[in-house]
Amino acid sequence: MSQLHRAQKGSRHLLMGNEAIVRGALEAGVNVAAGYPGTPSSEIIETLAELATELNLYVEWSVNEKVALEVAAAASFAGLNALAVMKQPGLNVAADFLMQLSATGTRGPMVLIAADDPGALSSVNEGESRPYAKLMEIPLLEPGDFQEAMDMTRWAFELSGAIGNVVLLRTVTRLSHASGNVVFHELPERESVAQFQYAAGGGPLLSLPVKARHEQQQEKLRQAVALFEDSPFNTYSGPDNPEALIITSSICTLYSREAVEILGLTERVGILKLGTTWPLPNKLVERHLARADKILIVEEVRPFLEDEIKALAAESAARIGIKSFYGKRQGLMSSVGEMNPDKVVQALSHVLGLPLPNTESPYEKRVTEIAIEGAPNREGTFCAGCPHRASFWSINTALSMDNRGGFVCGDIGCYSLAATPAGFTTIKTLHSMGSGTGIASGFGKLGQFGMDQPAIAVCGDSTFFHSVLPPLINAIHNQSNLILVVLDNDGTAMTGFQPHPGSPVNAMGGGVVKVDIPAICRALGAEVVLGDPFDVEGTRRTFLKMLERTGVQVLVLRQPCALSPEKKGKKAYDMAVDEQACLGASCGCNRLCTRVFSCPGLVWDEKANHSRIDEVMCTGCGVCASICPVGAIGMKEFA
């Protein structure tokens, strides 16, 4: 949204949380931003990249999150304003560097944004970023609404500049991806000059001597806490002496307010909303704890805030008395999944001994009923024409034919879906990025214990660069036996086609060096075979041959994503089902096409007893023609 860098101070805009963060970074005068795509964080780098040329920013999609943090750190070391952005699992990847970075400290202001996904709406876990602040001993900020997303981002730079260390700002899906009103502040006007002052003005950046640096790092935290005590991001609303006090943060602030309103308790319950959640501003929290005896802590996933507050309350007990705490530890609220107003209503009713209100409106009830009765069961599946469906068809059937119990170690991307019937449950292990290859490398060494099951790893093109290279090298060096299938669909498809090192353009649209996957693998010493996933028979044959060989082999299956800009709307083939040839229910195939292969472009016509192409969904990839055992699906090339 082009308004982001033009709109003036005081103007009001409807912004997505991630856009508000971008505006905050612009108001802070960000110079360099780096990240790795991951829902719900991706729009931050994408939006900055769009503005890069006009504002003279440098913005990049880095090969992985650790490198993104390093690239951003370099800008900070050179005195610039730096931003690193990633989703929570990426923080795990960056953690090694972050541990060192927080020890050496930063020069120019540097903010690390981690986007958590409570409820795993678009993730394979609901990992938490908050404990990292404590582990790394860096300040943690958590915006509670859209205005704060902007204001807090701007202030995070200020804080980093003041204490000389990186500041962690945590957002969540419901904030990053929802929209709300934001009033803009001024954009700075200044020229930035980069220089790394490793002699005078700071010296080299080393974590040595360790004890002295660690002491400095903790002193920075004390400075941060001093600022937190007066921070406008920590607010209290409610009566002076409420019957119960809710302590909350992040998006749970909105849920808590709503719950108090639903129950009509604004005169009886107070809400302490914390924006600076680690280290806690002791004095401030103690002051508010003194207001009530019953304390309800509302937060998502793990009881992070709860533990911190309980520890603080224990220390302050002599002054504020013994409190009754309600939250996750005693089981009142769940430590998994997202929070919502209903959950807060239930918990608060319990705390105050109120009867549970009837929150279900007749309308809502009817909607739920209809959903249960009528809605078809829609499992996640690959898009029509997705090359992954074809790839996994070939891999799966080849592994079955091979008959030795071979299996696929999965990885992170759209193709993770192959752990479900959408990909014929071909994937049997699924962990973090790059782990499929690492695990397969390990399996491939178990021959000496009698294991003869072939181990296959799959990864996408972006994942290949992100973290598959080290395990691949490991496998080659240690003479493991594995086949790595690179599902190369020409971009980071899952998160929206961000470029990666295999792309000819960068985030800002400039031409860059395209790194060639097969060439790398060959140079490492792997046997490399190229294939087209849409050639199902050919791919299966190739794969079966590879299964007969030993050593490290790489099969690169290349076919752009069905949704990629270059493909969208263009059909290669005009597909049609020959209604005479399709034997319907009497075919021995028992609807192999629509029951097992299950491309959304192919539907079963119950009444007519044959399958049929859904013209709207079909992308004309032609794969189903080779699936039908009686050849009833025909393909005509478009002239």
């Binding site: 059937t397 079955s400 034919m401 091979d402 008959n403 075919c587 021995g588 195939c589 028992n590 192999l592």
Partner: protein
């Protein structure tokens, strides 16, 4: 069936539906099909093979458990002058000769035979004499030969000849009964030539065994000479090897251990080796159709017949009876014979009195 390890890779289920494929000598089920009953089970020679029903359907006679099954004549035979020296026959070349003649005389339009790719046996649909000759020679690996029968069924052309081991011939005999009453079914099989068989080997494990000694892809021929020799002879392009049968036995699929048929009792003609005379065959003529073909082939110069000494016939019957007995004992032990349908599925159904007779023999 696959899970019980009984599969002998005959190919009966391959090509009926897309769920079964054969690769490297093993049948694989690609996806579970969830149909309550299918032809895959109905044709399988290791699922409820009802010997009484199938023998009645083939010969109009009961299954009596006699060692060699129903037959009209036992002879010794070899390829006639027209074919002598034209192929690398396993023994006398009678199989190649009969098929070549059947094609020539248009008794059949094509033959389902077994060729090989490296060490892997592959189904071949032969329509010319040259293709038939190219398939000569025994591949001791269990082979999905029946798959091409299923392919052929779909082609709609009639008059197919089939050469196969006893289990393969049993699968074909079951398919010919149209057990699931598919509408529009047509029996396309015009001739079955059975091969004698004591056991086959699993391609992959056998390949590994051979691979330890020589390049498995260079194997050109294999033979199991009759006792007292107890080896399998492997000939490659450059040398020959003898592998002890004790080692070979470890690679025999479980299904062979419960196989009661040594001489392909459901075929029109059955052909095997002949004791002491490696360039001749033992020939068992069973059906009228088989007898007619043999007679015409002799007249056409494709086949040469002679009398088989009585002692050889007796030895053969003794061997066949022994295999039957061992198979039934093993099947009973593994609860695969005449199982109460409520408690599981049988591999074979044989009338109890016949079982008693075989075991007593």
């Amino acid at each position: 069936m696959l899970q019980k390890g009984l599969c002998v890779d005959c190919g009966a289920c391959v090509g009926i539906c897309p769920y079964f494929k054969s690769h490297a000598g093993k049948i694989a089920m690609l996806f579970s099909c969830n149909l309550p009953q299918g032809r895959c089970h109905a044709h399988c020679p290791k699922v409820e093979l009802d010997l009484e029903r199938i023998t009645q359907a083939t010969f109009g006679k009961p299954y009596d458990g006699s060692p060699l099954g129903h037959y009209s004549e036992i002879k010794k035979a070899r390829a006639g002058a027209r074919l002598q020296g034209r192929g690398r026959f396993q023994n006398g070349g009678s199989v190649t000769a009969l098929i070549a003649f059947a094609l020539k005389s248009e008794t059949i339009a094509a033959a389902a035979l077994t060729g090989s790719l490296g060490l892997t046996p592959v189904p071949v649909l032969a329509t010319s004499e040259a293709e038939v000759i190219a398939c000569a020679g025994t591949k001791y690996m269990a082979a999905p030969s029946v798959a091409s029968v299923n392919d052929y069924l779909r082609s709609g052309i009639g008059n197919l000849g089939v050469v196969g081991t006893p289990c393969q011939i049993a699968a074909v005999a079951q398919a010919r009964l149209n057990p699931l009453n598919k509408p529009g079914f047509r029996d396309v099989v015009a001739l079955t030539i059975g091969l004698f068989c004591t056991w086959a080997v699993d391609t992959r494990s056998f390949g590994a065994l051979v691979g330890d000694k020589t390049d498995a892809c260079a194997v050109t021929a294999m033979d199991v000479p009759p006792p007292p020799a107890s080896v399998m002879e492997i000939t490659t392009t450059s040398a020959s090897y003898a592998i002890p049968l004790d080692e070979i036995r470890k690679t025999i699929p479980g299904g062979c251990a419960i196989c009661p048929d040594m001489t392909a009792e459901l075929a029109d003609v059955s052909v095997g080796a002949m004791e002491g005379e490696p360039t001749w065959n033992t020939l068992i003529i069973r059906s009228a159709r088989g007898a007619a073909l043999v007679e015409q082939a002799v007249r056409g110069g494709y086949l040469e017949l002679a009398d088989l000494p009585l002692a050889s016939q007796e030895n053969l019957a003794r061997g066949a009876a022994g295999k039957k007995k061992r198979a039934l004992l093993k099947a009973r032990e593994d609860r695969l014979l005449n199982v109460d349908p409520a408690s599981g599925r049988s591999a074979m159904l044989i009338d109890d009195s016949v079982v008693q007779r075989i075991l007593a023999g």
